[in-house]
């Protein structure tokens, strides 16, 4: 592979398979990710992208195959394990509790507590104000449930949650699907910034233009299997489209 001379990958998913009731959602897929790299995951709906990535984020457990972080084999049995490996995920559904405010969502499962073990609400709000000031300076609605926020605002809460805890590996499942052009641009800038900081990012995306613009490599899946992984600057839009639709890898990048 063309990337083999870059040392140990940050993440290596080896030969991952997972089936639901006899249907192979992910079928012997291997994929890797290096620090400071953005790898796009493409494919039709139901191609297995989200399922594959959920094995890494701890939402599912693979039936077979192994996960290596920095070259070491790890067990990821639940989302807590994934977080312990500095893997953060921004789900397509955003996974926000609509009845709670931004701070409560940002710290969900990792609340800040004071010396007496009680949740430190004011500190959490202060921290939320800080990070939102950086990500989305126009954000003002700190004391209302996130159900009262716009799509973009909700998205920025979900992103803030992933960024706040110093992720090393970031999984973004269609982060711009619900966003307007301005906010999409903001997410693109953020991805560049995080990449520069040395994070590895898996980006699940439908829009080939975004992939060409944001990603270093693109992995295409079809019917649970990996069609191939290509460097985006070595292929054209049509090549990737061909991979998605026909499941064929372009000859020159093979």
């Amino acid at each position: 592979m063309s990337t083999s001379n870059r040392g140990t990958p940050l993440v290596e998913l080896r030969d991952i398979s997972i089936a639901f009731g006899g249907i192979k959602a992910v079928d012997h897929v291997s994929i890797d990710l290096y620090p400071g790299e953005v790898v796009g995951l493409l494919g039709h709906n139901g191609a297995g992208k989200s399922t594959l990535i959920k094995c890494l984020s701890g939402a599912y457990q693979a039936d077979s195959g192994e996960i290596l972080i920095n070259g070491e084999k790890v067990e990821i049995k639940n989302p807590r394990d994934a977080r312990a490996q500095n893997i953060e995920t921004i789900y397509q559904t955003l996974a926000l509790a609509d009845n709670l405010d931004a701070a409560s969502n940002l710290f969900l499962g990792r609340e800040l507590v004071n010396s007496m073990g009680f949740v430190d609400e004011t500190k959490m709000e202060a921290e939320t104000r800080k990070i939102m000031g950086r990500l989305n300076p126009n954000f003002r609605k700190f004391n209302v449930p996130v159900s009262a926020l716009s799509g973009g605002q909700r998205q920025s809460v979900a992103i803030a949650r992933a960024v706040y805890f110093n992720a090393k590996i970031l999984i973004m499942d269609e982060p711009t699907a619900a966003l307007g052009p301005h906010e999409t641009q903001m997410v693109a800038e953020l991805i560049q910034e995080l990449k520069a900081q040395g994070l590895g990012i898996f980006l699940i995306e439908h829009d080939i233009h975004s992939v060409m613009k944001l990603c270093d490599r693109a992995a295409v899946m079809k019917n649970g299997q990996l069609v191939g992984t290509v460097k985006v600057d070595e292929v054209t839009d049509e090549d990737i489209l061909g991979m998605i639709i026909l499941g064929k890898k372009p000859a020159k990048a093979a």
């Binding site: 984020s57 701890g58 939402a59 639940n78 989302p79 807590r80 977080r83 995920t89 789900y91 559904t93 955003l94 996974a95 926000l96 509790a97 609509d98 009845n99 709670l100 409560s104 969900l108 499962g109 990792r110 609340e111 507590v113 073990g117 009680f118 949740v119 004011t122 500190k123 709000e125 202060a126 104000r129 800080k130 939102m132 000031g133 950086r134 300076p137 003002r140």
Partner: protein
């Protein structure tokens, strides 16, 4: 950067009521519930005054009794809030009251005296711990079925409703066990089961200090982080309101004197004559204090701990909660365990108050408990609810119940009709309210 992020929120022009609510941060729904409660109270009193010629609702005696009657329902309602917030239901709490009450009766009347001797001071302690433990175990068992076998809570606890009521009958072949241990009996309230006038003022002073501390500490904390502060008049108003409620309640419970028979019994015990103008206040009853402690504890649990956060998060979005690393199944077991323990505690109070254990103890309580939580603003859709709301809800329901008795419609049928209608109306008003704020 800190300056921009701490910019004060934009002040919109709004009417005096909206400005008042904004400044005091009072939940308009709370005001509505308290308003409804007062209307019920005044309504019954006025009806009694004009139709029967005897307004007996707003008397220290009735209000004191109301407080005692609210205790066991109120205690369970605080637990039901958690159950309903996480989109579950517990139909078995009334039967848990019955079964724990029955076994506590057997334990303290028939089993323990054999080992410890009748009237041993440890009997009531062991009995109470036993009752809480049995309730918790039943809750944990039901919770495990719900969490790990994925049986809907409605079904598990509907089964529990029948099973535990049956067990309560079989425990003593339907006998009534009476009287209970003399010390245990005090937990149920009554003239001797209350802390008296001085004790009540001490409790009031502690509560008042707590209110002031909360307001001062809250303000200091906001200042520390540079958040917008409430205007001073709002802080003063909130403090005055808190102190007013505490003082008023204490005056009421202290205005209810021991009846003549009890006075006679008391002074005979001291070997004295009953003095003229003898006036001994009841003060707060033990079950009311227990309710108070439970309410404070549960409020802290729900608003200040991770556990409480997770309860709300699971209610708002179970999937998101699980993806955040929350063990939602273990949480379900814990919530039902807590509910069971609170039902056990209600069993303690109910059997102590009745001075006997019968297998009908707590019959239909589950409906009052669920109704209290719902009237108190807990949403059946999950994710929303407060402890204080549930207790006010319990007060509303118990007020309707005793009020109907006081005005002569106490034969059960009218009472049920009124309470049933009130429940439906309360939920409808809640739906209207939620639509308006959206």
């Amino acid at each position: 950067m800190t300056d921009t992020s701490h910019r004060p929120q934009t002040q919109e022009k709004d009417g005096p009521i909206a400005a008042f609510l904004r400044a005091t941060e009072l939940d308009p729904r709370l005001i509505g519930m308290v308003g409804a409660l007062f209307m019920i109270w005044v309504g019954f009193h006025v009806y009694g005054e004009f139709v029967l010629g005897d307004g007996s609702f707003l008397t220290p005696r009735n209000l004191w009794n109301l407080s005692v009657q609210t205790a066991s329902i109120g205690i369970m309602a605080t637990g039901m809030v958690l159950v309903i917030i996480t989109r579950n239901i517990d139909l078995s709490v009334g039967s848990i009251v019955g079964v724990t009450g029955m076994y506590m009766g057997l334990l303290q009347v028939e089993w323990l005296p054999q080992w410890l001797g009748l009237g041993h001071p440890m009997i009531w302690v062991i009995t109470v711990i036993f009752g809480l433990a049995v309730g918790a175990l039943i809750g944990a068992f039901q919770g495990s079925l719900i969490a790990y076998l994925s049986i809907p809570s409605f079904i598990v606890t509907l089964g529990g409703l029948l099973v535990w009521r049956g067990v309560a009958f079989l425990a003593a072949d339907g006998r009534t066990i009476s009287p209970v241990d003399a010390t245990f009996n005090l937990i149920g309230g009554g003239p001797f089961g209350a802390i008296g006038g001085t004790g009540s003022w001490i409790v009031a002073a502690i509560a008042a200090a707590g209110v002031i501390w909360m307001i001062v500490n809250g303000r200091a904390n906001r200042k520390l982080h540079g958040f917008p502060l409430r205007p001073m008049w709002a802080e003063v108003f909130m403090a005055a309101l808190g102190l007013g409620v505490i003082g008023g309640a204490t005056l009421v419970v202290n205005a209810y004197p021991w009846p003549k028979g009890i006075l006679k019994q008391y002074y005979e015990g001291l070997g004295q004559e009953v003095p003229e103008n003898a006036f001994i206040s009841h003060g707060y009853a033990y079950p009311v204090l227990i309710l108070l402690v439970v309410a404070i504890g549960m409020t802290i649990l729900m608003t200040r701990t991770r556990f409480g956060r997770y309860v709300f998060a699971i209610g708002g979005n179970p999937e998101a909660a699980a993806l955040s690393g929350i063990n939602t199944r273990a949480m379900t077991v814990k919530i039902f365990t807590l509910m069971g323990a609170l039902a056990g505690l209600a069993g303690v109070i109910a059997s102590a108050r009745l001075n006997s254990a019968t297998n009908a103890l707590g019959d239909l309580d589950e409906l009052y408990v669920i109704a209290s939580a719902v009237v108190g603003g807990t949403s059946l859709a999950g994710g929303v609810g407060t402890i204080y709301g549930a207790i006010i809800g319990a007060l509303v329901l118990v007020s309707l119940q005793t009020g109907m008795v006081l005005i002569g419609f106490g034969d059960g049928s009218y009472r049920k009709i009124v309470i049933g209608a009130a429940l439906v109306l309360a939920v409808y008003l809640d739906i209207l309210y939620r639509k308006r704020i959206k």
